[in-house]
C-alpha cells in the first residue's frame, strides 16, 4: 500500500501547485495506479502467489508508467467492499479482484465508482466498467487427466476440490473426460473441502483419498499439502498454480502454472492508451496464461508424447475436451456426438460427467 509519508505528501502537494502551469503534461507523467485484491496471503505458494507474480511482472514491464498495489487476505464476503472502495478512493484506476467470491461485491462497488475500471477474475457478471477475465485451466487439466489416465494402475483417481463453482466443475470434468479417453474405466473420487486454503485439511483429504485406493491425486486447492502426502504414500500428484516439484520430487509429475503477467500487462497498456473496454477475456495455453511445467522423469515417453499432443491440439484448436458425446453422472446425455460445448455453456457448468463420484 502506498504510504502517505511527509516526503511524498510534499511531493504530491508540490505537483498540485505546479499543475496549472504544466497542464496536461503533468497529468500524463502521473503513473497509472493499479490495485489488486487478493484472497489469500502472497506467501501461499498457490493462487494468490501466482497473481502476485503477475503483479510484479506488470510492475517490472511498465516501470514508471504503472504503480501496482495489492491488499492480501481479503475475505469473500461483505468485508471485501470497503477494501475495494479504499483502493478506488486512493486513486487506483484499474482494479483487479482476483477471486470468484468477489463477484457481486465488484459489481456493487463498480456502480459506486463508474470512473474506475474493474476486472473480476473467474466471474460471469459484467457492467460497462466491470470486465471479467479467466484462464482456461481446464485445458491444462486435460493434459493432467491424460497422464493420470495412462499411468493409473487402480483406475481410481482422487480429485481434491474447493467449492462447487464453474471453474472447479469444469476442471473436474475436463480431467475425468481426458483420463477416460485413454482408459474408459477411470473413476474420479471428488472431495470438496469448502475452502481454498487449509493445508491440514488438504493433507487429511489426500490421506483419505489414498486410503480409499486412489493412486493419483489431482489438486484444485492452493497449497502443496496434498503433494507432500502423495510423496509419503508413494502415489502421484500434480502441482497447482505453480511448479511444486520441490515439495514432492518423486510424486510431482507436472503442474499447471498460472501465469497472469501477460494479461495484466496488456490490460494496463489498454488503460494507458485509452482503449480499455469491459471485456470477457479467457486466455489459455495458446496465449500463455496456462503453462505446463516440465515432466518428471517418472513420466514414460509415450505418456509425454500423448500429453504434448493434447497441448498442441489446444494451441491449434484441433482438440477440445468438451466435445460430445458427454453424459452426466446420471447417464443423461448432455452434449451430442461431435458437438463442441460453447464457452457460455462451459462457464456456467454445474454438473459432473459420468465417472465422477461425488
Amino acid at each position: 500500500m502506498a504510504l502517505v509519508t511527509r516526503r511524498n505528501f510534499m511531493k504530491t502537494a508540490a505537483s498540485g501547485l505546479a499543475l496549472p502551469a504544466l497542464g496536461r503534461r503533468a497529468l500524463a507523467a502521473e503513473p497509472l495506479k493499479v490495485g489488486f485484491v487478493y484472497l489469500g496471503a502472497i506467501g501461499d505458494f498457490g493462487w494468490t502467489w501466482a497473481h502476485e507474480k503477475g503483479r510484479k511482472a506488470l510492475d517490472a514491464a511498465l516501470k514508471g508508467q504503472v504503480v501496482a498495489d495489492y491488499v492480501e487476505n481479503v475475505k469473500e464476503d461483505a468485508s471485501a467492499m470497503p477494501v475495494m472502495r479504499d483502493l478506488a478512493q486512493q486513486g487506483h484506476k484499474l482494479i483487479f479482484t482476483t477471486s470468484f467470491g468477489y463477484m457481486d461485491q465488484t459489481i456493487a462497488v463498480g456502480k459506486q465508482f463508474p470512473d474506475v475500471k474493474w476486472e473480476h477474475c473467474t466471474g460471469f457478471k459484467r457492467a460497462d466498467n466491470v470486465g471479467t477475465y479467466n484462464s482456461r485451466f481446464h485445458q491444462g487439466r486435460a493434459v493432467l487427466g491424460t497422464i493420470a489416465g495412462m499411468m493409473s494402475k487402480t483406475g481410481v483417481i482422487g480429485y481434491l476440490g474447493s467449492f462447487k463453482i464453474p471453474e472447479v466443475v469444469m476442471g473436474v470434468n475436463s480431467f475425468t473426460l481426458s483420463a477416460q479417453a485413454v482408459n474408459p474405466k477411470i473413476t474420479t473420487k471428488l472431495v470438496m473441502i469448502d475452502t481454498w486454503f487449509d493445508p491440514a485439511k488438504e493433507a487429511a483429504s489426500a490421506q483419505t483419498l489414498a486410503n480409499l485406493g486412489c493412486d493419483f491425486i489431482a489438486t484444485h486447492t492452493d497449497s502443496p499439502a496434498a503433494l507432500q502426502v502423495c510423496e509419503k504414500r508413494k502415489i502421484y500428484g500434480f502441482g497447482q498454480g505453480a511448479d511444486m516439484s520441490r515439495f514432492a520430487p518423486h510424486a510431482h509429475l507436472t503442474a499447471i502454472e498460472d501465469i497472469w503477467g501477460p494479461y495484466y500487462i496488456s490490460r494496463a497498456k489498454a488503460m494507458l492508451d485509452g482503449s480499455w473496454t469491459a471485456d470477457n477475456a479467457w486466455w489459455g495455453l495458446k496465449e500463455g496464461t496456462v503453462v505446463i511445467s516440465p515432466y518428471n522423469a517418472a513420466v514414460p515417453a509415450d505418456v509425454r508424447a500423448a500429453a504434448d499432443k493434447i497441448v498442441a491440439g489446444w494451441k491449434d484448436g484441433s482438440y477440445d475436451v468438451f466435445t460430445g458425446p458427454i453424459s452426466d453422472q446420471s447417464g443423461k446425455e448432455r452434449v451430442t456426438k461431435g458437438e463442441r460445448m460453447k464457452d457460455e455453456e462451459i462457464l456456467v457448468m454445474d454438473w459432473y460427467v459420468k465417472g465422477v463420484q461425488s
Partner: protein
C-alpha cells in the same frame, strides 16, 4: 473393508486431532488459573514458523536432532509471545479478551513476516521415532507410526489432568482461578502463578503450531493453522474444563472431521458438503445442550475466568 482400512482412517484422525489437543491442553491450564487467552491462533503460528525455521536452518548441522530442537524452539517462541499477553493483562491490568485478540493478530502478522523468506521451502518430516519395521508396518503403525508429538500430546493431557486434580500445586492453581482474592489473602502469589500458567499455555500452543509445519505438511505457508486455535478454544469450553473430557472431545472432533472427508470421497452426496463441514459444530451444540439440560456434574468453569486481578495491597 478390512482392518487396514480402519487403521489408515485412525492415522488420519490422529493427525487431525493432535495439534488441537496440544493447544487446548495448554489453554485448559491457563483458564484454570483464571485467565482467558484468546491468542492461541497467534501463538500457534509463531510456534509453527519458529519450529520450521530452526529445523530448516540447523537441519544440516544437527541431523536427526534438528526437529527436536525445532520443537523446543517452537515451545519457547510460543511461551515468549504469551509473555507479551501476560505482561499486558497481569501487570498492566488490560482487558483479557481484547489483548488476546490482539495477540492473535500480532501472531499472524509476525509469523508472516518471519516466514516470508521460507515460502516454498521444505524440511524433513518429524516422523515416528520407531524403526521402520514397527512404525512402517501396515498394522503396528496404529501404535508406533506417529510423530513423537502425538505421544507427547497424549502424555500432556494425562499429566495435566493429574497435576490439576492430584497435586498440591494443581490445587493452588485452581484456587487462584476460583477465587483470586482469597488465594491472595492466604498468601499465594496469584500473579506469578498466572504468569507460569500463561507461559505453559503458550509453550503448548507453540508446539501445537509446529505440528502443522513439521509433521502434517513439512513446509511453511502463511496462516497454515487455518483457525485451529479457535477450535482448541471451543474445545476447552466443550470439555467443561476437565482434562479427560478434553481428550475425548478432541478425538470426537477429529473423528467427525475425518468422517466428513470419507463421506465425501465415498460419494455420500445426499447430504450437501456444507452440512458435513458444519457437523462438528452442530454436534458440539447438541452435546453442550444435553450436558446443561441434565445438569451433569459437568462443568468446572473457574469462577474468576477473564476477571482482572488488581489487589489493593
Amino acid at each position: 473393508m478390512n482392518i487396514g482400512f480402519f487403521i489408515d482412517a485412525l492415522v488420519t484422525v490422529v493427525a487431525v486431532t493432535t495439534p488441537i489437543l496440544l493447544a487446548a491442553t495448554g489453554e485448559l491450564v491457563v483458564e484454570k488459573s483464571g485467565v482467558l487467552n484468546l491468542g492461541i491462533e497467534g501463538m500457534m503460528l509463531i510456534g509453527a514458523i519458529t519450529g520450521f525455521a530452526v529445523t530448516f536452518n540447523y537441519g544440516p548441522d544437527l541431523g536427526d536432532w534438528a526437529p527436536w530442537v525445532g520443537v523446543i524452539a517452537a515451545a519457547l517462541a510460543g511461551a515468549a509471545s504469551s509473555m507479551l499477553f501476560a505482561v499486558l493483562v497481569l501487570t498492566l491490568g488490560s482487558n483479557q479478551v481484547a489483548t488476546g485478540l490482539a495477540l492473535t493478530i500480532f501472531g499472524i502478522g509476525l509469523s508472516s513476516l518471519i516466514g516470508a523468506g521460507y515460502v516454498g521451502m521444505t524440511v524433513q518430516e518429524f516422523a515416528t521415532p520407531f524403526p521402520d519395521w514397527l512404525g512402517g508396518d501396515p498394522v503396528w503403525k496404529v501404535l508406533f507410526g506417529y510423530s513423537p508429538l502425538v505421544y507427547f500430546a497424549l502424555f500432556m493431557v494425562f499429566a495435566v489432568g493429574w497435576f490439576l486434580n492430584r497435586t498440591r500445586a494443581g490445587l493452588v492453581l485452581r484456587a487462584v482461578g476460583e477465587n483470586d482474592i482469597s488465594a491472595h489473602s492466604i498468601g499465594y502469589p496469584v500473579i506469578p502463578i498466572r504468569y507460569a500458567a500463561i507461559a505453559f499455555g503458550g509453550a503448548l500452543a507453540g508446539i501445537g503450531g509446529s505440528y502443522f509445519s513439521m509433521v502434517i505438511t513439512p513446509m511453511w505457508a502463511e496462516q497454515m493453522t487455518a483457525g485451529r486455535g479457535w477450535i482448541a478454544l471451543a474445545l476447552v469450553v466443550f470439555s467443561g474444563w476437565r482434562a479427560g473430557r478434553l481428550l475425548a472431545g478432541a478425538y470426537f472432533f477429529g473423528v467427525l472431521m475425518t468422517l466428513e472427508l470419507y463421506a465425501k470421497a465415498s460419494g455420500f452426496s445426499f447430504l450437501p458438503s456444507q452440512f458435513w463441514a458444519a457437523m462438528p459444530y452442530i454436534m458440539a451444540v447438541v452435546v453442550l445442550a444435553v450436558i446443561s439440560a441434565r445438569g451433569v456434574t459437568g462443568s468446572e468453569a473457574p469462577a474468576c475466568l477473564g476477571r482482572p486481578f488488581m489487589p489493593s495491597s
